[in-house]
Point group: C2
Amino acid sequence: MNWRPLSSKELQAAEHYVRLAMAQAELAAQTGNAPFGAVIVDALGEVVAAEHNRVREALDPSAHAEINAIRVACRRMQMPTLEGYLLYFNKEPCPMCLVCAIEAKLSAVYYGDPDDGSPPVALPAAEIVRRAAVDHRVQVHGGILAEETRHHREDLLRRYSS
Amino acid sequence: MNWRPLSSKELQAAEHYVRLAMAQAELAAQTGNAPFGAVIVDALGEVVAAEHNRVREALDPSAHAEINAIRVACRRMQMPTLEGYLLYFNKEPCPMCLVCAIEAKLSAVYYGDPDDGSPPVALPAAEIVRRAAVDHRVQVHGGILAEETRHHREDLLRRYSS
């Protein structure tokens, strides 16, 4: 796995952006979507995309938070790829989204709690990164505020599920 | 792998729709995109989406032919999933697109030649389907007109690459 320990400064920044992703997850839940949010940040720390899951509102099974954020960032930067950019998400990304992040050449993905549920396809992020071509090895840092992201989603599901 | 032999009638139909996907791939190449096309067909054989790769024109790394076709079909049918629908593609789908097909609950995916290149993430379709949850096991039928799809893409790349 393409991984290295985070410095305390990096961890602090990661926690800040994962909290922004959690705020997006809240927006998702409020609009009847699954409680997931993602932000993309440039090398200077500026947020270039903050998006949430829109599968239900858009009737689009590909409209996961991370893919929406990648689309918004590419459109905003007028680039088909996002070298040097970082993605933050409030849970371990699903295989579709992590492969999209790899296709988009994002430099790193930071996320909250690991996927301990039963996703449609059981492919852990670590394994997908191991299978990526050498020139597409995104860095992956999981477990950022893991307890907090999991409890937050559980709370959103309780409050907004009908 | 969730697979069964095709009857000669099914194979004939599959070849017909894979050829439509090849025509979409030609449109992709003509518009400066990678030479990939996909069609989605309902249970009666009516085409509900015919789309091509639009990564370069849309500056969207998620705009692969299959994902575009899934988006169009869901919008057209006003449904977030596509149970009972079939997807045809002119090559083995990448992991992002096959997972999207699984998320969309498509009933079957038919494709041309296997992926013998070096994709960003080396995850064969057969393996992804094996990892899918039991209630998400899309049927996958590869090798439909495999020689023809491969030669067609090579020809498109020769004719349209600048």
